[in-house]
Amino acid sequence: MTTYALHQAPAPASDRTGFDIAAVRRDFPILRERVHGKPLVYLDSGASAQKPRPVLEAMRHFYEHDYANVHRGVHLLSARATDLFEQARETVRRFINADSADEIVFTRNATESINLVAASWGGTFLRAGDEVVLSAMEHHANIVPWQLLRDHLGIVLRIVPIDDAGTLDMDAYRDLLGPRTRLVAISHMSNVLGTINPAAEIISMAHSRGIPVLLDGCQAITHLPVDVQALDVDFYVFSAHKLYGPTGIGILYGKSRLLSQMPPYQGGGDMIASVSFEKTTYKEPPHRFEAGTPAIAEAIGLAAAIDYVTGLGFDAIGAHEADLLAYATTRLQTVPGLHIVGTSPHKGAIVSFTMDSAHPHDIGTIIDRAGIAVRAGHHCAQPLMERYNVAATCRASFGLYNCRDEVDALVAALMTVQEIFG
């Protein structure tokens, strides 16, 4: 059905942006995998990204040479593990330019990071009738924790609308900021539409009224440089697994001033200063929020992923992905009956689409047989699906290792869908 042959023919040495895509692809062992007898074309990095060899090696090396629990033993390995774990925190700090490593809390994932803020900060500072502003393009991870709080405390959720292209309505946003607004929690980049929201403007408008802002950076962190001090953002959350790092670890960045006012989220070991049955005192942030044995090897893997990404540099990654996005957008429009959902002028490398002839699920199944992995479904953003009056979309989400040949493979496979259903 397709003449495309990524692994039979040598991949192009570099793409049109001068990025050495062939070398980058060699760093990701899984890209040599075949699925259904076809070369894997992985276009689902928005759900979770594949891992480069340095990440796999860092974790393996740690387990083979340095592994022990952290913050506990006087023995050498515990000291080494603790050092590496805290160095990973410092790597994250540098990556997002936080003022202090104490502002970096390790969690399980972005979802837990948001739940932590909702439970600890929200549970302490919000009262019935207080308002939290979300947007119409949020992932369920940035909706449901606030709904739990609404059910618990009687807070009110206000939703910033978007236009048909998927751009946030900033006038409506300004109007929603009112005397009862206590927090703005919005995605930095949409996992469905690809829209990159105007974070600096969102934050400065909220701050002019004394309102703190949480940004869900799950998608943005993989596509753009993020400087939390330049943004002046109050909370920033992301997961390692979308940033070419391991599963099981996420980040909550919070300004020191905010974290220090927040009570623990969970209780246990590692987060206490002293415990007696009468009274327990807690450690300072970030350890106050890290009860129990953390994901140690995963923190080290995350640090390796950050080193890998920063080694390539966001200038190069950004140019490469912008080229892919433009190419994919143009090529996909040649498929009869295909509609792109999310056409905001400021977008990252994600293309969601529907086809007149076929349901996203059927599209996903058919192109899977051509080796192409996309996500088909509601992408944990059901309110957004409602906004566009669709049950689901297909989503091709690109990572730094994707190339134009893979876009061609996607388009060829979609032509087959059209053949079957047309």
Partner: protein, 161 residues
């Protein structure tokens, strides 16, 4: 491309029922209904049944219909189902469900004995057996049937999860 599996899955009958689902309506006289959700993909379906007592005293499906949205597999499955269950007693509907479920999920050798089943109906439903090669799609084929059983049982919300 492993085209054979796909041809097996997307047979003409499926494509036809998927595009032009039969009994896609909400009969005002329906006396049972249930809603089914597939939380994985957001597909939703409502099954409407009109049950009427037969001379033997057993309830019989006088009419079956559905509404909802979903993929070709789920729409075709619901459409075929509404055709297959009409005229059947509740016990026969249950037996058909069990057989259909086995067909979608188990090798032939492992199919259980679910009592008196309409072999002709099973033959026609055979077009959906292709889903067995697509484990991620089995729920698309069975959602309507789970919802049907929920409607028979009195009508509640059901979910494939």
């Amino acid at each position: 491309m492993a085209f054979d599996d796909l041809r097996e899955l997307y047979q003409e009958v499926i494509l036809d029922h998927g595009k032009h689902p039969r009994n896609f309506r909400h009969p005002p006289e329906a006396n049972r209904q249930a809603r089914g959700d597939n939380p994985m993909c957001g597909d939703k379906i409502t099954v409407y049944l009109t049950l009427a007592p037969s001379p033997s005293g057993e309830d019989v499906v006088a009419d079956a219909a559905f509404e909802g949205r979903g993929c070709a597999i789920s729409q075709a499955s619901a459409s075929l189902m509404t055709e297959m269950v009409r005229g059947k007693t509740v016990a026969q509907v249950r037996a058909l469900f069990e057989n259909f479920h086995d067909m979608c999920t188990k090798d032939d050798a492992l199919h259980g004995d679910h009592g008196d089943v309409d072999e002709d109906a099973m033959d026609r439903l055979q077009v959906l057996s292709g889903v067995r090669q697509f484990p991620m799609r089995v729920k698309c084929a069975t959602l309507a049937w789970h919802t049907l059983i929920a409607a028979v049982d009195g009508g509640a919300k059901t979910s494939t999860e």
